[in-house]
Point group: C2
Chain length 200, copies 2
Amino acid sequence: MTEVVAHRRGRPPAAEQVDNRAVILRAALEEFAEHGYDGTSLRGIARHAQVDPALVHHYFGDKSELFSTVLGADGTVDPAFLAILDGPRETLVGDYLRFVLSLYEDPAQREQMTALLRAAIGTNEMAHLARAFVSSEVNARFAAIAAGPDPALRADLVSTQLLGLFVARFVFAVEPLASASVDDLVALIAPTIERYLFGE
Amino acid sequence: MTEVVAHRRGRPPAAEQVDNRAVILRAALEEFAEHGYDGTSLRGIARHAQVDPALVHHYFGDKSELFSTVLGADGTVDPAFLAILDGPRETLVGDYLRFVLSLYEDPAQREQMTALLRAAIGTNEMAHLARAFVSSEVNARFAAIAAGPDPALRADLVSTQLLGLFVARFVFAVEPLASASVDDLVALIAPTIERYLFGE
């Protein structure tokens, strides 16, 4: 491993930069998922990614900035999410719910989502980052498509239902909710989000 | 303080027991709220309550058992909650939402709820306790009053909406949700919970 670290030391050539960023982000996601926010260090992430710690800092700043970037890279701002929000209103909410719930059917994705939720909710430092992320990346987009008065409050209400669904299904794994099918959950929860976004 | 500790050492007379339990529970709630689960020790709680650590252990067992008891003492199983669930179906959901949201208007209660949510969601060890508590103390009661098929799933859905509401309003303090009035939130969210409990 020392050879790899030595090989990657110093400023990387331009062609390698995109690759290095992706490798570091992936390593960071796995470290945060496994050790939680407090148990993760930039040094450990660098070791995992087989790069120099200075490179991690160069690309992503300090640990809280890196975590903030990881939150943004977790699928919620997936281009597919944006495409769904641009879709027809009749199917938008169902499509979105099906998209996020299906994404986390994958055990590895589910584990990472659980770890990220825990870190985001469990620590004071992370709560304000998570709030900023939810506000700017998720709620702002829902507010933009909401109909009627108080679009920002409508978007917040959507996020309450989604947050609670994710915590109950992935973190607490409450039964029978945790084992309910994606189809059933879409049918049961879509009307709630429809009403928050478009109701009178 | 040493005198007080010395005074309270040993098995307490029966008349003092109820008082000691309450003092320890209060101290535990404040310690968990201030330091989180990992940062709290039985010794620190005993110091805060001015009792012998052995007394804390005698009444409440180890830290996770004590935390579990504290979760049960946070107002969710308040007799008023049970009385509301025994009330007429037409006003039950609105009354319950108004009850819990009003309870946490109080800044001290809100701070404690935030700390408890953080501890319950943020750590692996606490997640299973929180799940057990939510399952047995909250969901079981909602399932008992739900109408139609799948009462357990209905109750789980209620808990997703409540959990997400609490996390978004108290932990993330997302605006404008965090500053929305109790009246507005009851009007907006009660129909969701009505539908989960009693919908077709």
